[in-house]
């Protein structure tokens, strides 16, 4: 295959923030009609590099050339006009507008009367885009009512609505399950066929080989190497990006289960959950699989008291309880790591310490006065354990990379020492190396006698880490498997609902 000419050349890109060198002379060359993977650990600088390309962040040094011509790309508008379209890692949707309005924000189709927006065209155009993606999202739905996966698909539709020469996708699949990912890949291949250059960031390593043509690896803000995908291997890429070899991907250690900590019986919530029963024992890791919209997050929220239930019984540590609020749930020893870190997990404008200790302020205070030193000590230990990359505990969470933000949410729930932990997509946006560390952490938690309910859209993760696996389908538990009997096919079969078990 003759190499296509480079449509994009970034050279010597540098960017520093107070206390952080985010990018230190990075080069990137992308060709027309290729899917170029950008690979690197959390905080390696991938998102920053892409934000510079999209005009959202100003670079300190370096040049950008499109089609061989140097461009400035000083503002998002300039970048858009130059044909760069981007799906950011963190969502940029306006929550109270509809799906259609969000997709065409700033580029609304004009109506017959000058100055007015054509509502009809807005809807039909949005519906057409969503149909291309084969998702069943109502273009008239308000974005705030959508789940993370659906929001992600809206972001994709939004990026596709402009004719882009270069399309950047920053972790578009971190919230999607296999069905949507397959759909997204179909769209990506079609775009590649049309000669669009795609830059793709993901921590799901298996995807790289499915969709990528070439890969550029970054580490600590520096350019490391570029490889043709067919000529490289997973171990090589991992060692390039982490700087060492990684042997085991799922270091599962089974712990003999202890007494029952949580029992849910016949839990229902009109329109979302139907007659759900499950148990969790000490030392157990129970995986909860299912498609987008199958009710996994709704179940987690209902158990945690964040949403009201219409029927059912919940028993915690042998006592029947009515969980009316998250506060009560936390008091009972529950913790819920939410799937949407920006909206529900973090107070972005506060620092790492405040976020880490937010759910345990009670534990760190006496007579209403917070003991800052104990907080600092606890936060210090957790951020070190989880290897959060930051210049200090006083860094505001908004300034962390996506994966490091996720680690802070995790730290929050470890800090409050809950013993029934519900993790909704715990490794969302976390790099391969750190994933293994988080799996080890989950093992350690189980060994300490905690019970863990792990929701995940990554089947290998569910299969690799669970003692038992529950599969949800349209608000019901459609099947249950032990670790030994479960396979990818069985779970998918169950989740797709061909034969409900």
């Amino acid at each position: 295959m003759e190499a296509a000419p480079a449509i994009l050349q970034m050279k010597g890109i540098a960017k520093r923030y107070p206390g952080v060198v985010a990018l230190d002379g990075v080069d990137l060359e992308v060709r027309r009609g290729e899917v170029h993977i950008l690979l690197g650990e959390n905080g390696a600088g991938k998102s920053t590099l892409m934000k510079i390309l999209a005009g959202a962040v100003r670079r300190d040094a370096g040049t950008i050339a499109l089609d061989g011509r140097e461009c400035d790309l000083a503002t998002p508008r300039a970048a858009q006009a130059a044909g760069v379209s981007i799906i950011y890692q963190e969502f940029n949707l306006v929550p109270h507008l509809t799906v259609a309005e969000n997709i065409f924000l700033g580029r609304e189709p004009r109506g017959q009367v000058p100055g007015l927006i054509s509502a009809a065209r807005l809807r039909t155009d949005a519906a057409r885009l969503l149909r291309e993606l084969e998702v069943t999202i109502n273009p008239g739905a308000v974005v705030a009512d959508l789940g993370v996966a659906e929001q992600q698909m809206v972001e994709v539709a939004k990026a596709l609505s402009v004719e882009a020469k270069i399309l950047v996708l920053d972790e578009p699949t971190s919230a999607l399950s296999d069905k949507e990912i397959a759909q997204l890949f179909k769209v990506i291949r079609a775009l590649r066929g049309r000669g669009v250059a795609l830059i793709y960031i993901s921590h799901r390593m298996e995807e790289l080989f499915q969709i990528g043509d070439r890969v550029t690896v970054m580490r600590d803000g520096r350019y490391i190497a570029t490889r043709d995908i067919p000529q490289t291997t997973l171990p090589e890429l991992v060692s390039l990006m982490v700087g060492r070899d990684l042997t085991e991907h799922f270091p599962k250690k089974a712990v003999p289960p202890g007494e029952e900590l949580l029992r849910v019986e016949h839990l229902s919530r009109t329109g979302a959950l139907h007659d759900i029963s499950l148990t969790l024992r000490r030392g157990e890791v129970v995986g909860l699989a299912g498609l987008m919209g199958s009710g996994r997050t709704e179940l987690a929220r209902a158990i945690f008291g964040a949403d009201p239930v219409t029927a059912g019984r919940v028993t915690v540590k042998g006592r029947e309880v009515k969980v009316g609020s998250p506060r009560q749930a936390i008091g009972l020893g529950l913790g819920l790591l939410t799937e949407d870190r920006k909206r529900q997990g973090l107070v972005l404008c506060l620092d790492i310490r405040a976020n880490t200790c937010l759910a345990s302020v009670d534990r760190f205070s006496a007579a209403g006065v917070v003991d800052g030193r104990r907080e600092t000590a606890a936060a210090q230990k957790l951020t070190a354990d989880l290897r959060v990359k930051t210049p200090g505990l006083h860094q505001r969470v908004v300034n962390l990379s996506g994966g490091n933000q996720q680690k802070v949410v995790l730290a929050k729930w470890l800090c409050c020492e809950a013993d029934i932990l519900i993790f909704d997509e715990p490794t969302r946006g976390i790099d391969v190396g750190s994933k293994v560390e988080i799996y080890q952490l989950i093992n350690r938690l189980a060994a300490e006698g905690k019970a863990i309910l792990m929701i995940s859209s990554e089947l290998p993760e569910i299969l690799g880490m669970s003692d038992r696996i529950l599969v949800m389908n349209r608000g019901r538990i459609a099947g249950e498997f032990t670790a030994a009997e479960a396979t990818q096919e069985k779970i998918l079969h169950c989740a797709l609902g061909a034969h409900a078990a």
């Binding site: 959202a56 998250p326 506060r327 909206r343 972005l348 506060l350 209403g368 917070v370 006083h394």
Partner: protein, 315 residues
């Protein structure tokens, strides 16, 4: 430019303080009457009321809310306390009654906002009118005047050469700063303003604390009423009109974000002092009150513009 981390983290406060110092320097050069002990104490005295209201408002704004009713609450609390004094209640008891009325109005605000789910703007806009009406009804629209020496001491007295109101202001600010930085109440105030949903899901009793924040706001407005009444030796039912706007201005100049989640009490104090010094300086220079209005408006806008500008340049 490399700054020590403490300064870098509080850059906004140091910036506001620098503006304050420059402002004082400029006015001192323009008029010799500014930098005298009597005048400076005078400025402090004039700043006290606004500063007290603004500190409560800072809490409210950090929590992501707004309180438009503080001026009216000040008037209402003032006349209730004045009546109590005229009825011969002991001074501490009368003050308690006044502050209680202020805190009570704040409680109603808080309940409407957290449990009634009203937007703070609407709830406190309503209270602004209700409390004003209450003050007018309670007095038939006439001022209540003439109190004993022991009450007036609150405005006229001095301890170690420092006027009592200034002392009270300093104490309140010290307490408010510690509460905001060191207590659960302060921590939750920031968290709620930064992300209410995440706070709720982290077990923060959001509604309880939100209510408490408005109680504090109302109570501090009433404390302002105590000092104002003592100074004027009279409680006016039409006192405090537009005070909420001055307090919002001081808070915003001090770097507190109207979006919630960010801000500081110290910044607000400097903001209030900037407004006080500006008014005083313009008066000393004989600038007409019409022009003063314009200047103060420009300063508020300039302060926020500078903020956005610095945030932009850090991109």
């Amino acid at each position: 430019m490399k700054l020590p981390p403490v300064i870098a983290r509080h850059a906004r406060q140091f910036g506001t303080f620098a503006v304050f110092v420059v402002l004082c320097a400029v006015i001192s050069v323009l008029t010799p009457h500014f930098f005298t002990v009597t005048n400076l104490l005078n400025v402090a005295q004039q700043t006290v009321i606004n500063a007290l209201i603004a500190v409560g408002l800072t809490y409210v704004i950090i929590s992501g809310g707004i309180d438009l009713s503080v001026g009216s609450i000040l008037a209402f609390a003032g006349v209730v306390m004045a009546h109590a004094l005229r009825l011969g209640w002991p001074v501490p008891l009368a003050i308690l009654a006044g502050v209680g009325v202020g805190a009570g109005c704040g409680l109603v605000n808080g309940l409407l906002i957290s449990y009634g789910r009203l937007p703070p703007f609407i709830a406190t806009l309503g209270m602004m009118s209700v409390a004003r009406g209450g003050a007018l009804l309670a007095t038939d629209g006439r001022p209540v005047s003439g109190f004993g020496e022991s009450f007036r001491w609150l405005a006229t007295g001095e301890i170690a050469g420092v006027p009592v109101p200034v002392l009270i202001m300093v104490l309140v600010y010290a307490a408010a700063h510690l509460v905001l930085q060191r207590t659960k109440f302060g921590r939750y105030t920031y968290a709620i303003g930064g992300n209410e949903e995440a706070s709720l899901l982290s077990g923060v009793p959001v509604r309880l604390y939100k209510t408490g924040i408005y109680v504090v706001g109302g109570g501090l407005a009433a404390l302002g009423a105590v000092l104002l009444t003592a100074r004027l030796n009279s409680a006016q039912p039409i006192a405090g009109i537009n005070y909420e706007l001055d307090a919002i201005a001081a808070t915003v100049i001090g770097g507190t974000s109207l979006m919630g989640g960010q801000g500081s009490v110290i910044g607000t104090l400097i903001g209030a002092l900037i407004m006080g010094v500006l008014r005083n300086g313009l008066n000393l220079l004989g600038v007409s009150s019409f022009i003063q209005q314009v200047v103060i408006g420009v300063v508020i806008i300039a302060a926020v513009l500078l903020d956005t500008f610095f945030k932009q340049s850090k991109r």
